[in-house]
């Protein structure tokens, strides 16, 4: 029964993919879209059933299909583990997934390759599910690389534009750098405990006496590198903003809600490993904090609506890692969920805007859309409030939890985190004001095409907005349903329940004030004085540095890519030719000797006889000497 459920869960998206790949074109756009959506919806239903079962029974379901890879000291089988964590993830992956599918039906309707788009989306969901429910690290790795592949395909969906293809390639390769880390981590763990199964691993570690902690921490570090790749943390974050080249639903689904959270998932999944590697945890916390700050600062000055959201995503992910670093997994998970809601909503909103403006993404050419597209405006407003941590919206609770934890562990990181969230509030409302208020700054004919998007687009927006509002309820401070739900996963007592004391309240207050402050600044700067960011060339000073993302891409290019390429040229032009010249050289030498030798063969009998006699004398005298 469980096996069948699991298989249905996994295989329906795959089925949808296959159908769309092979028959999509002939089926026509609407049908293929419907198929794609339904496939995911079914998985969503199944996940609901499973969720139901888990909550009732309270323990996970293990499904083993068959042996996969045999290695002398560890046997890896293709199996699934459906426990609280994976089912939770399933819920919002498939749930938001189906919403976004729905959205895409209308959003992508003008694209001739719509069936392909849905095929890829389904494939993505398939791999994402595999990633989530994999029973061991290697099955997770299938999904891990699979989603990477899908994001490659979807970022480069408009494949005629080589820049998009470059972005896609960049995403894939950066992920692969992380994946190598993940692999190495697996190797170490495999050789230490000779298993990659979560369950067995957990017991093994629990039971293990005199663990080789340094080695284990090394493994943890490698795994974290993998997480950095997937979840766009420093130093591997630069692919995510470029990934915005893909269609907006993709950005919403893959690069905001689901795939990028895989890193957090993996770390949470292996919490028992990370708990032992405390110094790695510190690293994680620091990297998370820095990432959130850096990304936020960059986000301040971006003018491409999607870029802003992308950097906000990076910074939010940073906050989640901050939480992970302190071992507050449930907090991180909480933020993952709320973030999924409002960020998906924001992306879809921006998508609706872009749709309305026929592909215009620069906020400097927007404005005053409030009246034209009210639903989009309101939903996005709600989400912005949520992300800025305005009280009683979902974001408020989750972000607050994180900051609390940070405060309890290290003040500096707490400060960094708070600054980041203030900035978040600022740039989000900068976005809101520039997009929806004042007068429209676009061209005339854009202006008179302005319209609210169709229902297929607005419905998901509304649903997500609602979730973004009330999502916080699943883990109210004080009595958190989520913590209780996730408790079985964690070795230590699930996150120290902050009894709400004065410090907590003051911190909350500070956070709220910070958020409001950010909003206020934005309001003054872009509503009162209504100044519009300058066009690229006359951006100067610090903002120029920020606008160019601290020139990180350029640096990477100069430090890694360029050298490899020039090395490759060098090898090709010198080493290769040199080596083959060496081989040919031997032949040439022989030929040269032959050429000289020919001169010896003068054809004169006298010489021949002379040599003859010489040889004769040599031999005979040799005999005599030997005597």
């Amino acid at each position: 029964m469980d096996t069948n459920l699991a298989l249905i869960l996994v295989l329906t998206p795959l089925l949808g993919f296959l159908v769309n790949v092979f028959f999509g074109k002939s089926l026509g756009k609407t049908v293929s879209g419907a198929i794609g959506t339904i496939a995911v919806a079914i998985s969503f239903v199944v996940s609901l059933l499973l969720f139901n079962q888990i909550t009732s029974t309270g323990k996970g379901i293990e499904v083993t299909l068959f042996d996969w890879i045999q290695i002398s000291n560890l046997k890896i089988n293709l199996g699934f583990l459906l426990d609280q964590l994976s089912v939770l993830w399933l819920l919002f992956v498939t749930g938001i997934g189906s919403l976004i599918h729905l959205y895409s039906i209308s959003y992508m309707h003008d694209d001739e390759n719509m069936h392909k788009f849905f095929a890829y989306l389904n494939l993505f969901v398939f791999f994402m599910i595999t990633l989530v429910i994999g029973g061991n690290l290697l099955v997770l790795f299938i999904g891990w690389e699979g989603v990477g592949l899908c994001s490659y395909l979807l970022i480069g969906f408009w494949h005629k534009n080589q820049d998009y293809n470059d972005a896609a390639k960049k995403a894939f390769i950066m992920n692969r750098i992380g994946d190598l880390g993940l692999l190495i981590g697996m190797f170490i763990i495999g050789s230490m405990f000779s298993t990659l199964d979560y369950a067995t691993l957990k017991t093994a570690i629990a039971g293990a006496s005199n663990l080789n902690l340094p080695l284990l921490s090394l493994a943890a570090l490698c795994l974290f590198i993998g997480a950095c790749g997937k979840s766009a943390q420093i130093p591997l974050y630069t692919w995510l903003p470029d990934a915005m080249a893909g269609p907006t639903p993709v950005s919403a689904l893959i690069h905001a809600a689901t795939m990028v959270t895989a890193g957090i998932f993996m770390v949470t999944r292996l919490n028992f490993v990370f708990d032992l590697a405390t110094d790695v945890q510190t690293v994680i916390a620091i990297i998370g904090a820095i990432t959130s700050l850096v990304a936020a600062t960059i986000g301040l000055v971006q003018n491409d609506i999607k870029k802003v959201l992308a950097y906000s995503t990076v910074s939010q992910l940073g906050l989640m890692f901050l939480a992970l670093g302190f071992g507050a997994y449930e907090v991180a998970v909480f933020h993952v969920i709320t973030h999924a809601f409002f960020k998906a909503c924001l992306f879809l909103g921006s998508g609706s805007v872009i749709h309305g403006l026929h592909g215009e993404q620069d906020m400097r050419n927007m404005g005053g859309l409030r009246k034209a597209m009210p639903i989009t405006f309101w939903t996005m407003l709600i989400s912005s409030l949520a992300i800025s941590g305005v009280p009683f919206f979902s974001g408020f609770f989750s972000k607050d939890e994180i900051l609390l934890t940070a405060f309890h562990h290290s003040i500096p990181l707490y400060v960094v985190g708070s600054v980041a969230s203030i900035m978040t509030a600022f740039y989000m409302f900068r976005l809101m004001f520039l997009t929806f208020f004042k007068e429209f700054r676009g061209t005339e004919e854009q202006k008179h095409h302005l319209h609210e998007s169709g229902s297929l687009i607005t419905i998901p927006l509304i649903i997500l907005a609602i979730l973004a509002t009330f999502g916080g309820l699943i883990s109210l401070p004080g009595n958190s349903w989520l913590n209780g739900y996730l408790a079985p996963l964690f070795t230590k007592v699930a996150g120290e329940e902050h009894h709400l004391g004065t410090t907590e309240y003051t911190l909350m207050g500070v956070a709220v004030l910070g958020g409001l402050l950010g909003i206020l600044i934005a309001y003054i700067k872009y509503f009162k004085q209504d100044n519009v960011p300058e066009s690229d060339e006359n951006i100067t000073g610090l903002s120029k540095v920020l606008y160019n993302k601290y020139y990180v891409d350029e640096v990477y290019d100069a430090v890694f890519v360029a050298p490899v390429n020039s090395l490759s040229k060098f090898f090709r032009d010198y080493i290769e030719t040199g080596l083959s010249a060496l081989v040919f050289g031997l032949g040439k030498i022989a030929n040269e000797i032959a050429f000289q030798g020919k001169k010896l063969q003068t054809g004169s009998i006298g010489l021949y006889l002379f040599v003859f006699v010489l040889g004769l004398c040599a031999i005979v005298s040799y005999i005599f000497l030997a005597q």
Binding site: N591, K598, L609, F612, I623, F624
Partner: protein, 463 residues
């Protein structure tokens, strides 16, 4: 013995046919006669006896090699049918000379007395002088003949001197006497000297460095058929005789007594290394196929000389090697004869595009070259294999490695020809399918491959 008589008789018959104006019949009848002789020889195989107070001593060794010579002669005679079409009046002489030459060859491997040996070698050489110069009006042929004659007779002089010294030391020309007394304690230094002189004379005949200079010039200058004869029959005879001399006179052990053995082995090793290296390297830059094969012949001589290091064991190996080499040579030359029959030279350019115009012969030539290069399933490979095996067992691993390197070099020029045949455009029409040439080519190469598949046939003859 009967073989020898029969052969001589056959030669005389050939001359008679000329008188009786049966030129047409000469080639077929000679071939039939030789086949008969072969059968006769086969009957003698295994019988150990000596005739005319041990002038001729028939042994397995002699009969085995004689049969090889006869087979080769059959091929050569078969080829001469087309080769001498243009001057039919001469054909009987040429065929007769070949047959007499065969008689000399047989005498050389089955001598029981140095006198017989000397006569044999002279019969062979004189016949060769004549054949080399046989194209009277062609200056090249004359020159070849002259060179060969001068150096050949010089070499015979040396050999004769060697014989003389041996006689002086032993007081007898009889092999078996020498064989016994070679082991006696105090021998005058003349004996090894004389022996060495004879060896040098024979080394000249097998064209080993530094006595090889004549070979390329003479091969190039002589008529193609004669070249074929020299590079196959003559070479094989010479090396076989050399082997028999050293084995028959118990030379090795007598040297051992006078602790000269090491010296001798050093000499052999040096000469064989020198021969194969010089032969292979010099062949790289040759454009004339006959000349190229001359050098390849020199290198093969170097390989064959390796057998002298393990005289006691390697008679069979030598037989196998010579057979493989000679058969490949016959096949190659029959193709050369076909391709260059109305060309005035044998340059590689004549072979361009043979693969297209004449796939069968191209395949044959390719096969024979691969065999010479020592590529598996062709008997050439096994020949090398057995030789190396023999030599490594005797502990000369260094020599074998040099030999291996040489075989690598040799591929260089063998493949020059193959490439010319397959990857260049044909530059001339090739008409006519002369039956005898085709037959010779195919039969010899088939024999070669058959030996490759069943080496034991030949290898175990001299057990």
């Amino acid at each position: 013995m009967n073989t020898l008589i029969a052969i001589t008789g056959l030669g005389i018959f050939c001359l008679l046919f000329e008188i009786l104006n049966l030129r047409k019949a000469i080639v077929p009848i000679t071939i039939l006669g030789l086949l008969g002789v072969l059968a006769l020889n086969y009957c003698e195989f295994g019988t150990e006896q000596s005739y005319y107070n041990n002038m001729i001593a028939v042994s397995k060794f002699s009969t085995a090699f004689s049969s090889l010579f006869i087979v080769l002669t059959i091929f050569l005679v078969a080829l001469s049918h087309n080769f001498y079409q243009n001057h039919p009046t001469k054909i009987s002489d040429y065929v007769a000379i070949k047959v007499f030459l065969l008689a000399g060859a047989v005498a050389m491997v089955s001598f029981g007395n140095l006198a017989m040996f000397f006569l044999g070698i002279e019969i062979l050489s004189i016949a060769l002088y004549v054949l080399a110069a046989s194209d009277r009006l062609n200056i090249k042929s004359n020159e070849a003949g002259m060179k060969y004659f001068l150096m050949g007779s010089f070499a015979s002089g040396i050999i004769l001197f060697g014989i003389c010294l041996i006689y002086g030391a032993m007081g007898s020309f009889d092999i078996s006497d020498i064989h016994e007394s070679a082991l006696s304690a105090e021998l005058p230094i003349w004996f090894p000297i004389g022996m060495i002189l004879m060896v040098i004379g024979m080394l000249f005949k097998v064209a080993a460095v530094p006595f090889h200079f004549w070979a390329p010039d003479v091969y190039e200058g002589s008529p193609a058929l004669t070249t074929a004869l020299m590079s196959t029959l003559a070479k094989v005879v010479a090396i076989a005789t050399l082997f028999k001399l050293i084995a028959g006179m118990n030379f090795i052990s007598s040297l051992d007594n006078q602790d000269l053995l090491h010296t001798f082995e050093v000499i052999v090793v040096i000469i064989s290394i020198a021969s194969m290296s010089v032969g292979n390297i010099m062949a790289l830059r040759q454009v004339n196929v006959k000349r190229m094969l001359a050098f390849s012949g020199i290198s093969h001589a170097g390989f064959m000389l390796m057998t002298l290091l393990t005289v006691s064991a390697s008679a069979g190996v030598l037989l196998y090697y010579t057979t493989a080499y000679a058969l490949a040579g016959i096949a190659a030359f029959s193709v050369i004869l076909y391709v260059c029959r109305d060309q005035d030279n044998e340059d590689i350019t004549n072979f361009h595009g043979l693969g297209k115009t004449n796939p069968l012969l191209a395949a044959v030539l390719t096969a024979s070259l691969l065999s010479m290069a020592g590529i598996p399933i062709f008997s050439g490979f096994f020949a090398k294999l057995f030789l190396f095996n023999q030599t490594i067992q005797a502990g000369y691993i260094g020599l074998v490695i040099v030999a291996v390197i040489n075989s690598i070099i040799s591929v260089g020029y063998y493949f020059k020809l193959i490439i010319a045949m397959y990857s260049k455009e044909p530059n001339q029409e090739r008409t006519g399918r002369p039956f005898l040439i085709y037959a010779t080519a195919v039969v010899s190469i088939v024999l070669n491959i058959a030996l490759g598949l069943f080496p034991s046939l030949v290898l175990d003859l001299l057990k």
